[in-house]
Amino acid sequence: MKSSVKTLPPAVVWSLLVVATGLTFAAGEFGIGSAGEAGHPGPALIGSVLLLAGAKGTLVILDFMDLRRAPLFWRVVVLGWLALVVSGILLVYLKGSA
């Protein structure tokens, strides 16, 4: 935290979130990669949608919640929560598809 840390303007964050939401919806609607048979989740769909969720969550945490400029502790705790939840879901889903 040497130089002044700038948060992204809300309009920029909003645009990115809208695009990511569109991609998530499209992935659900049209599928990504080989979705496999019924009961077999598509690892490509799961991975890409969770990646988008992680990216969206990071933007909200850093720029909307303004944690980009908060003490390191708070950034680590909230981003750590996001990483744990997203990777936990990913592991459980991929294990289920194996």
Partner: protein, 201 residues
């Protein structure tokens, strides 16, 4: 609490000093909420792993358009709150910030309408908590989140009234920042809930 010290410290050290916007107590509450939702999400994932066929079949009955529309509404509402906070921090006219809060409230009400119509469809089709494991998780998870949206809208309304009255400024925005952080948390949780419950299969 750091509500008194923060603005002063910020003025002295400039923009580069780390600042946690909002009340410490509200942030601790936010962490507790995130923890609860996190456990809920993982429980959903584990339950689904036990019976993916039934979960995917039940998920196909959800309206993904409504889910996506609600994501856009919550994201826009969150952005509008960020716009309002930015204006207050800059010392812009109270009316400007209040107008953004009104946009945020309108988007939040849109979410309630869309989610409400989804629930009406489900209940008309006979869905209840005991219908299936998926229905139990779906109704409990989205219902728990729905309560947070309703509370958030109440908070936003209070913030709107107070902002309009000029209660907040660059040196005193703690109340607004606390409510904003809570509302962003409600948005953040939905950003995981939507792909998990509506999209992933």
């Amino acid at each position: 609490m750091n509500s008194q010290a923060t603005p002063a410290a910020q003025t002295l050290a400039g923009d580069s000093a780390p600042v946690l916007r909002g009340d410490l107590a509200v942030w601790i509450f936010i962490l507790a909420e995130l923890l609860a939702f996190g456990v809920f999400f993982l429980a959903y994932a584990f339950a689904r792993a036990g019976d993916p066929v039934a979960f995917d079949a039940a998920q196909a009955g959800l309206d993904r358009h409504a889910g996506a529309l609600n994501t856009l509404l919550l994201v826009s509402s969150s952005a509008a709150v960020a716009q309002a906070a930015k204006r207050v921090h800059r010392g812009a006219a109270a009316a400007q910030a209040a107008r953004w809060l009104l946009v945020a409230i309108a988007c939040g009400l849109g979410f309630v309408l869309v989610k409400g119509s989804e629930y009406a469809t489900h209940f008309a089709a006979g869905m209840e908590l005991s219908s299936s494991t998926f229905a139990m998780f779906y109704l409990a998870l989205t219902g728990f989140h729905f309560m947070h949206v309703l509370l958030g809208l109440t908070v936003l309304t209070v913030l709107w009234v107070r902002t309009r009255a000029g209660a907040y400024g660059p040196r005193d925005s703690n109340g607004l920042d606390s409510g904003a952080a809570y509302w962003h948390m409600v948005d953040l949780v939905w950003l995981i809930l939507f792909p998990l419950v509506y999209v992933m299969r």
